[in-house]
């Protein structure tokens, strides 16, 4: 096992900059998600760490050892591909055995290690099958067993759950997390699915246009996004823009919004406040229960029912503000109704204009 350090990594393909000065410290034994839209550079970064491609500049270290010019076959990594990439000409057991047998391990060792790996992913009895005889979820497990049986220093996963349907994906998230904890391997996981990133990882790195936008534990990024992009890409957020007052912003119509978190900014600059839809309380009365709360008035333009919760789209001076409420069965607001929105400054994050 080993941690991975990436420092000032850059990589261009022709005129396209795929990675631009990215530095991340992947802690030993941690589960790290690289999150970003397609084209953000997250897969390029993973392939650099794997060794399929070399950086133009920067440093990659695995377990303290510089590897940026070491080819993939010498890096001792385990990788799970989006399409599983199982060898169709081999049985499940031979697929898992591949990494050990190309290293020239003894037959008996290979056999017991393969069985252990297959047991770990709960496919102990399917060793004799061919990959095409397995379901998508089972292939996924074989790919994982094949990647970890060689005891790699780091496990790299390239959108491994992308091809599975939703129910299976949730199962595999739990399973993957269990296996990762059990063997304690440093894991780097590429995904464009924010929910997957939030539920599975200890830390998340958000990438955009080849740059690292923000990096930290899921709660920290969710509660204290440092950019509008981070706020809206990880979870849902309402963005209010105006002129900063140092501890909040003043909207163009003069309404003051107080922010209890985020950047400290000099007064006068343009800035924005982000607030999560579920932090806003929605009601019809104008009575003030909390004098410090931020308050906006608006009109319900739409309500979307999603089972356990509902999202109201509230129109205020042409801007739509989303409010998510739990369906307690008590309150139901009609479209067109005038409403008052309230939320605490602690739920408001001040963000510098980007």
């Amino acid at each position: 096992m080993a941690g991975v350090q990436v420092a000032n990594l850059s990589r261009s393909f022709g005129a396209h900059t795929a990675l631009d000065d990215v530095s991340i410290d992947f802690a030993d034994g941690g589960f790290y998600a690289l999150l970003g839209p397609s084209g953000s550079g997250k897969t390029t970064l993973l392939r650099q760490i794997a060794g399929f491609d070399f950086p133009d500049s920067g440093r990659i270290a695995i377990g303290g050892e510089s590897v940026e010019r070491v080819p993939v076959e010498k890096r001792r990594i385990g990788m799970v591909f989006q399409n599983y990439a199982l060898f169709p000409n081999m049985s499940v057991a031979d697929n898992v055995a591949f990494g050990l047998s190309v290293r020239g391990e003894a037959k008996a060792t290979i056999q017991s290690e393969v069985q252990r790996a297959l047991d770990l992913v709960q496919l102990g009895k399917l060793g004799a099958r061919r990959p095409h005889q397995l379901s998508g979820g089972q292939r996924q497990r074989v790919a994982l067993a094949r990647a970890i049986v060689t005891k790699p220093r780091v496990l790299l996963l390239d959108e491994p759950l992308g091809a599975l349907d939703k129910a299976l994906r949730v199962d595999m998230q739990i399973e993957l997390k269990r296996i990762q904890r059990e063997i304690g391997i440093t894991t780097i996981f590429v995904t464009h699915d924010q929910e997957e990133a939030l539920t599975m990882s200890d830390r998340i790195g958000i990438l955009r246009d080849g740059r690292l936008v923000q990096e930290g534990p899921p709660e920290e990024i969710y509660d204290r996004p440092k950019s509008e992009f981070a706020a809206t890409f990880l979870g849902d957020a309402n963005i209010l823009r105006g002129e900063t007052t140092g501890t909040g912003i003043r909207l163009p119509d003069g309404t003051a919004i107080a922010a209890g978190a985020g950047a400290t900014l000099a007064g006068g600059a343009t800035a924005s406040c982000a607030v999560r839809p579920e932090r806003i309380r929605i009601g019809t009365d104008s009575g003030t229960s909390d004098p410090n709360a931020n308050m906006l008035r608006g009109q319900v333009s739409k309500r979307i029912f999603a089972g356990n919760n509902s999202t109201y789209f509230v129109d205020r001076n042409g801007q739509t503000i989303k409010v998510t409420v739990q369906n307690t069965g008590v309150e139901k607001l009609a479209e067109g109704q005038k409403v008052v929105l309230r939320w605490s400054p602690e739920s408001t994050v001040l963000i510098a204009a980007s």
């Binding site: 399929f52 080819p71 993939v72 076959e73 010498k74 990439a85 190309v102």
Partner: protein, 289 residues
Amino acid sequence: MAGQVATGSRSGLRSALPLLVPAYLWLTVAIFLPLSAMVFFSFMTELPLPGKAWSFTLDNYATFFSQPLYLTLLAASLRLGLEVTLWCIVIGYPAAYVLAKVFRGRSREAIFLLVILPFWSNGLVRIFSWAMVLREGGILDSALNAVLPFNINIDLMYSYPAVIIGLVHSYVPYMVLTCYLTLQAIDDSLIEAGRSLGASRLQMLKRVIIPLSMPGLVAGAALIFVPVVGSFMEPRILGGRTGTFYGTVIEDQFVAVFNWPLGAALSFILLAVVLVILALASPVLKRAA
């Protein structure tokens, strides 16, 4: 449910039948009928020409076994087929690999065109142009003497190597094409997965790429081996006196000696031998694939 599927496929077969008819009608007329005539001929004493008496006989087949020359020539032809097939694999497979896995887009199309180019020229023209290259004082000889500081004398014309060169040139595109198709179908992520597991390029080739492209290799080998064993044009023109093979002897029976019954019998013996070889080889090749 199962019954439904069965009727579905049966009516599918019925509606697909008209699509099969032209091909099979053509095969019947163009191959089956002449071939039947040849089977018939191979059991006759004489060609059924006016004024000639003929009867049925097994002598034509007996001739093959009574004269050791034919067996020797058949062995030589089989060896020729094997050698040409091997050379086609050695030359064609790496080219197919590079085409399928290294080149992309326009450059791949251009290189591909060069591979198929021999198909577009007349076979006889190709062989005679080889004759110009290979003979003493020919293009190869002059070119080497122009470059090398010492004098060498290269005369490959009318030799076994000349026959091999001509045949490999004619048939290597088949190997490139069949191997290219199977190699191209191998997902690049399989190769990446193998490398991430620590396999060297040679190990990947041996354990993943060659097994997965085996169908292409087998198809290419069959497409080359069968016609080369019966070939007569290249051996005759490029081989001269050393170019007597089973195929040239059959050709002689039809063209020079005018003994069609013997020629037909020798052809069917060749067909039987080739079929036996393919039948014996298929389980081995299937296991390898």
